[in-house]
Symmetry: C2
DNA sequence: GTGAGTGCAAACGATTTGCACGGTG
DNA sequence: CACCGTGCAAATCGTTTGCACTCAC
């Protein structure tokens, strides 16, 4: 599909960035790559930490700016699961989140209707372009771990 | 139903507080009452401000503590619509939220299936006790106000 | 070369915490 | 009267911002 050898598909980020009118810069590619490598949800600080560990440090402030840009551009989704708990992930497939009350783990829950908002309220409130669903409860791992 | 004269049903808070094992104190009743009086969603600061205006001031710190307690006790629901945007409301009837991207207004969206989580994922992730749904888009008021 | 993007560090605002006093049970 | 809950103020933490420098285009 992609011409070239990139085993990380990294080149795609350049295309995607350009496609949304953002310049291709090192921090942007690194942040996006960190998110895709991880595959799951990461907070801004976790991205900073991951990049630092990889030997390609990016400033905290810059990470926030990059995240704000790519979220605004639609490349990344942000989900707030509580105060000071914003998590980011690549906006590829739409899905919901299950948050464990006990261990805080976030588990992806596929959206039953594909890549568009799968829910619609039965009252007219406005034009809905997104339906973010957060399920809360106790995850199987914690339940298996005993009643406490 | 309730013996007494309380036109504000305030006495109920005492019962509800006791029922969940919390002491009945002035700040707690005031905070709960402020939330119910308002009927909608209020941030911690808005509660502080409302109580101050009513001539029954409660410290910001105390409001946060009270809110944390009553949320933990299940008397109040908290919804996070973004970083530093936690809003609280009485946990009486289950419903979802529609957040306008333009003006920030929060509109209640009734849950189609009554007072229990109306949604269930089709994968087993754990024991779900809550499904919080946040719809995002442009509210009718903003749309009526023109394309910008 | 020019403006967008970055790094650094200080500023910010919501929420939390420590401690001494006061009220509830 | 013992303890929980409050008030006050300082601390904490995630996130934002200002400014000079650098790099992408």
């Amino acid at each position: 599909m992609v011409t070239g050898h990139a085993d990380t598909e990294q080149q795609t980020w350049e295309d995607r960035l350009r496609a949304v009118g953002l310049r291709v810069t090192r921090p942007r590619v690194l942040v996006l790559d960190a998110l895709r490598r991880h595959g799951g949800h990461r907070s801004a600080d976790e991205v900073v930490e991951a990049l630092r560990r990889r030997g390609t440090p990016v400033t905290r402030g810059t990470v926030y700016k990059v995240l704000a840009d790519v979220v605004a551009a639609g490349l990344v989704m942000v989900a707030d699961h509580g105060p000071g708990r914003a998590v980011y992930e690549i906006a590829d497939l739409w899905h919901h989140h299950f948050v464990c009350r006990r261990c805080g783990t976030i588990i992806d829950v596929p959206c039953m209707e594909g890549d568009k908002p799968c829910l619609r309220p039965d009252v007219a409130v406005g034009e809905i372009d997104e339906a973010q669903v957060i399920f809360r409860g106790i995850c199987d791992a914690c339940r298996a771990g005993g009643p406490r």
